[in-house]
Symmetry: C2
Subunit: 296 residues, 2 copies
């Protein structure tokens, strides 16, 4: 028996359709169009692609999107000035500075310069702290929020389940643990975080009801590390050499899909899994921010 496939692509399409409706309703009722500003320093091709995808997706659902591209030699003060302008701009409800920034700019300083009320990426320490203490208004980081949405909408509510998170990054593993632990919808799970310093990873992953892998190591989770019936979410997106492919590479996750798919209860593919959810949650945060702004 094959696993249920958790299609992030399909779930993201559902959410985007709901969001389009919300945007139309917000515009009709308040006259306010949600606004997202993306700031890109330099010409990194991957960053250009990501930013382009974000703006295109925003525009497609009626969100006003402003793309600001700055030269690679932009000074830290110039970048902070741009962010300050966006903080003060009432047309902008979400600010995203595409990471990484060039080495001569202090990334932490730039993140902390964004108004937490417009921090739709959820990387500001105030956002992280409010998520971790479940207090005040905050935006959850997009990838972990997307993972939780995928679980809930595919019928695998984490409440009361044992979720094993592999990876402890600030972008996925740690904030995901915060979301899953809290006393709130999508939370109430028993959560284990394991990582590169865990002596026997398989012994831990085999105890999971739900296994989320975010290590950035191609196809590291093999079938012997997964108990039959487990729900598996694969956050990894890796390029590996593939001489048989036209491009010379293929994209794969952190889970050896062909093997694990045979025994898992449910599994998300790569591509078409977590990837489309991340941008969708960014748009969701932007709409939420606009709604909160109209209520203030």
């Amino acid at each position: 028996m094959s696993a249920q496939i958790i299609s992030g692509k399909d779930i993201a399409a559902d959410i985007r359709s709901e969001l389009s409706g919300e945007v139309a309703k917000l515009v009709a009722e308040t006259g306010v169009t949600p606004g997202l500003a993306t700031v890109l320093v330099g010409e990194n091709p991957a960053s250009q692609m990501y930013v382009g995808m974000k703006n295109k997706a925003a525009a497609a659902m009626g969100i006003y999107s402003r793309q600001i591209t700055l030269p690679i030699d932009t000074s830290q003060d110039e970048l902070l000035g741009v962010v300050a302008g966006l903080n003060a701009d009432p047309a902008i409800h979400g600010i995203l500075v595409q990471l990484p920034v060039p080495d001569h700019i202090d990334e932490g300083l730039v993140i902390e310069s964004i108004d937490p009320l417009k921090d739709v990426d959820g990387f500001h320490p105030m956002s992280v702290g409010r998520l971790a203490t479940d207090s005040g208004e905050f935006f959850a980081p997009c990838t972990p929020a997307g993972v939780v949405e995928m679980l809930v909408r595919s019928g695998h509510d984490p409440a009361g389940k044992h979720v094993v998170v592999v990876g402890r990054s600030n972008i996925v593993g740690r904030p995901l643990a915060s979301l899953l632990i809290r006393k709130a919808p999508g939370g109430n799970a028993t959560v284990t975080v394991c990582h590169s310093r865990t002596p026997d990873l398989g012994a831990v992953t085999r105890t999971a009801d739900i296994l989320v892998v975010a290590m950035g190591r191609p196809e590291m989770v093999t079938a012997d590390m997964v108990t039959p019936g487990t729900v598996v979410i694969d956050v990894g997106t890796n390029r590996v050499d593939d001489p048989d492919s036209e491009k010379g590479y293929r994209v794969c996750g952190d889970v050896l899909f062909d093997e694990v798919e045979k025994i898992a209860g449910a599994i998300s593919p790569v591509p078409g899994g977590v990837g489309p959810m991340t941008i969708t949650m960014l748009l969701s945060n932007t709409v939420k921010s606009a709604r909160l702004a109209t209520a203030r």
Copy 2:
């Protein structure tokens, strides 16, 4: 064979003696005396006792301590004004507003009004977020920081171990998980957080190399929930009725000590365990804050 007793009282005494030396050195080298301000609103007897203990301990090691007691009908604005004054006062390096505050005052607002650079309690969302992302200068909350110190100083470094944390409070469980997960001394553990919504608590606690219990339920962890050899830290402090005692009550932890002590590899008692560590870490944070201030 009985368990090794992890005496928080003894470890706290060692740290306080080290801190006294640090304070003397700081005064001699920079002329700066670390300063701690405690703010208490109202006359709650338990709060009065805690604040008194903190000030006494601070004074005993040469820390300047200022105790500010405000009437129960102090307005929120008045309290915020007191905190603003302490934020601006160069003689004060640590500010502690004793919780809980009266109902007519917004606790979150008061916590967020404290300068994160003086937030020696570690409850400000900026402190929580910086701890959770391991970025910038921050103070770790005192009780979880005390638990980590107890483990390391008693020879049970959490690195590479499976630590099960029972309880998900903002004061203990969640920040403790942040400390134990991070790539830093006292961290690098595999961490599981379980809580009231975990269906079979014993099944999880039995998988621990190190078990930290912070549920606030008297003697809930019994011997059958602990695998022989486990290191057990008991964060609970509960009063239970005891007609045989002169006071009519006795103080106990969240662990049934007499039973678990027979099979654990090591165990911290209540009282004399985590309790004395909490105040000690507050003093440690205050001294650290003064040292950082002289370097700015």
